[in-house]
Structures are given as structure tokens and as C-alpha cells.
Symmetry: C2
Subunit: 246 residues, 2 copies
């Protein structure tokens, strides 16, 4: 698909995904939001809670560090425990250090005061922010995310991740939303391959995909046309339906 | 966690994941199987249907090509359509070419004969296998996966992917299954951080993780102990419960 939308990657940090304990959902949510708001998600990576792995992935993905993409979003590892090492790794990747951020500290103090609990050393860990970063608002539980270079660091807890995405995305320079049309056919992928290829050749500026599935009734295929121009997407879908006699 | 289990990575190939259209499930399934059978999954990547991206990812992840892990499993892009480019990319990464594999062709011919449909050029695409690869059985729909170097290439359709995993995993040299115990506490992560850290320090050979969640009743945390020695995992969990007065 031809697009000059900003490119993006997602880095998920968490042993619980790799162990199979938790099914990842934050990247799926953000993928939908990015498509709808005009960003071109090109890669997702999941790495373990390992300092060197996180640093290497950030450097490979953040365009401001010579990495491949305009924007990098991360999920996970910014909580209060010993295995929350994302802030340190992000700081390292960006050539800076971590300090208690006064504004983040104030946010945590206010929340602890409201809850009537002390701001312990562990809770204060959540105010440790790379020097030079700006904060990402957390409407759920106060402890902020942060942005540095083109890396945007968010929490792993789904409710908090989503709140941070809602706050952050309108503040980034989006491109044009992706337009998408799909049709389901009760045929195997092999039976539609030739028509799909023909239409894809005529509409090289669009992305035409086929996604086979198998259910109680046997095989079917979802055909999807994606692009930035709504009229052009509709035209390609009409051409595809005409060829398939739908 | 100390482990000399074989290390593994998963590479998911598919625009439909990156566009947000489909929620990835194959990597989650395989992550569970790998933990249970004695492999140490270290990384998951999702890349688009782009030849160069797929080649680069395979080279970065397959240990036989200088990549980081003992084993690489891929999902997606081996169907009959123009956007199914995984076989070519895997061949390229492994310095070989793609040819019609006689055994794969025979499997497809037999299936087409059973179904009473012709073996079209599109269907025959699914017999295009890198030279030097061995086949992975597909109990669902005949079209095989394949193994080359340390790369194991499987289909994206979940039923087929699972059938291929079931066939393949017992044929690989597994290590020791991971033992895991978990306990849920109705406390925020900050309130358990100190005890968790103390026990993690005493049991440096194990992996202790905390996974906060938020539901109708407020905040809670799942505490998980993982390791290869069942008795040692149980001992660490007892120590953690004792500290937390559970």
C-alpha cells in the first residue's frame, strides 16, 4: 500500500507474554488505533525483562537512534517492582540516565494522599523517568508514562495502556486514516487467488489481502482491500466482486 | 531464570496483524506449548508481508544464520496467493532457492483428487519449498510446512498452525519443562514489591514476576514463580506466602 503516513513499531516488554501465561492484547489494541488515526504500523516485537534486549530493540526501532521507524511505542515494565526495568533501559538506549521527575513525584504524592497511603520507596520508583523525557498522562492510576526521542513508554496493565494511548495519540502528527473494505467468500484461498492477483495488479497503490479460515462449514476466505483513498478502495472492491461474480 | 533449555523465537508474518484486523493467537498458543515442553521462548516478532523485512528477521533470529536463538518458528504467508511470500524469503535468508518439492506436490495431488478439484497453478504454489528443506506434516489440509536450518515454517490459519506444532514439537530436542506456581493477592503491586524483591534475591535461579491487574473490585496482583526444579519453585512460593502472611 502506498502511504506517506508516519511509520511505527510496538515493543512489548514482558516475560509473562513469552511464557504463555498472558495473551498479549495491548499491541492489538494499538494496532487498531494506529490504522484508524493515520499511522503505518510496520513491526511488533515482544522481548523479555532483560536490560540488554530492551536496549537493543529500542535502538533497532526508534528512528531518532538510527532505528527503522518514525515512532516507537512500548508497553510494560514501568511498575514499582524489581523486574520493572524499562525506564532504565530506555534511558540507556537514549544515552541518558534516570532521575526522580518532580512532576511525576507530585502526581504520586497527590494520589497517595487521596488514598491515605504513604509514598513508599517502591511507589516512588514509578517517578523514575529518563532525564529529558516528557510525561504521558495516566488517567487511571497517576503513575505516568513518558516520551523521549521517538520512544513513547506506556504501562502494561491494559486499562492504563489504553488511557495513555487515548491521551498520547492526538498529540502526535498523524497522517491519513487507512480505509478498508472486506468481503467474505465461502471458497478456499486457492479458488480466489487468480482474481485477487489480477485486481492487485491493476491497483498497485492499494493493499489486497486474503485471509483463509476454517470453521464448521469448511473453508472460507476474507478478502480485504486497504488504502488511503476511500473512493479508490471502493472501486477496487467493486472490481474484485465483479471478477468473483459476487 | 537459570535454564539451559534450547532458546526459541517466533516470527509472525502478516499485514492483517499489523493493521489490527486480526488478533494474533498462534504465538500465544506456541508460547504455552514451548514453556510446557522445555523450550525457552525469548522473542516474538511480527513483520509485514515484505520480502526484505522477512529475510532480515530470519537472519537476526535463526542461530544457524548467526542469529540469536537456537530455534525459530514462523507463522503465516505459505498459502496459494500472490502475497504469500514466506517460502521465497526463507529460501533467500538461507542462501537457497525455491522449487516444486515432489513429495509436497504428491500430497497436494492426492488431496485434490480426494476433493475432485484440479491441481491448479495457484494450488501448486503451496508445493514451492526451499531446496534442502524437510516437510512439516499438515493433518488439516495437506499443504505442508517445512524446516530449513533452524527455521521451522508453519501456516497462519490457526487450526493448521496447531496441527503443525503438534507434529513438529516432539521431533525437536526439548529441554526441561518450566514449572510455575502463582498466587493472586488483592493488593497493589507497590504493596508486595519489597517482599517479592527479597524472595527473588534469595532464589536467584528462579524467575519471580508480579502482574498487576485492575477489575471491578479494584487493584490486584498475580505473583508468579517459575523455574525448572519443581521442589525449588514450591519452596520459593512458600517463602513468598510466608512473607506476605498468606
Amino acid at each position: 500500500m502506498q502511504s506517506d503516513n508516519p511509520t511505527a513499531a510496538i515493543l512489548v516488554i514482558g516475560d509473562e507474554i513469552l511464557s504463555g501465561r498472558t495473551r498479549e492484547g495491548n499491541a492489538h489494541h494499538l494496532a487498531q488505533v494506529l490504522s484508524a488515526t493515520g499511522f503505518d504500523l510496520r513491526e511488533i516485537r515482544v522481548v523479555s525483562d532483560d536490560h540488554d534486549r530492551i536496549v537493543a530493540a529500542i535502538r533497532a526501532l526508534d528512528g531518532s537512534l538510527g532505528g527503522d521507524y518514525d515512532l516507537l511505542f512500548t508497553s510494560g515494565g514501568i511498575g514499582p517492582t524489581h523486574d520493572d526495568i524499562t525506564a532504565d533501559a530506555v534511558a540507556d538506549a537514549h544515552g541518558t540516565t534516570v532521575e526522580i521527575h518532580p512532576e511525576a513525584r507530585a502526581l504520586l504524592e497527590a494520589r497517595c494522599a487521596r488514598m491515605g497511603v504513604p509514598l513508599t520507596e517502591n511507589r516512588l520508583r514509578m517517578a523514575r523517568i529518563p532525564v529529558g523525557a516528557t510525561l504521558i498522562d495516566n488517567a487511571v492510576s497517576a503513575a505516568p508514562g513518558f516520551s523521549i526521542g521517538r520512544t513513547h513508554v506506556m504501562a502494561g496493565v491494559p486499562e492504563v495502556f489504553r488511557a495513555m494511548v487515548d491521551w498520547l495519540l492526538p498529540r502526535l502528527g498523524a497522517g491519513r486514516p487507512v480505509q478498508s473494505l472486506s468481503v467474505e467468500v465461502r471458497r478456499g484461498e486457492s479458488d480466489v487467488a487468480e482474481d485477487l492477483k489480477a485486481v492487485a495488479g491493476e491497483y498497485a497503490d492499494l493493499s489486497l489481502g486474503s485471509y483463509p479460515f476454517h470453521d464448521q462449514s469448511g473453508w472460507g476466505t476474507n478478502l480485504v482491500v486497504r488504502g488511503l483513498d476511500e473512493a479508490r478502495v471502493a472501486e477496487a472492491m467493486d472490481a474484485l466482486k465483479a471478477r468473483l461474480k459476487l
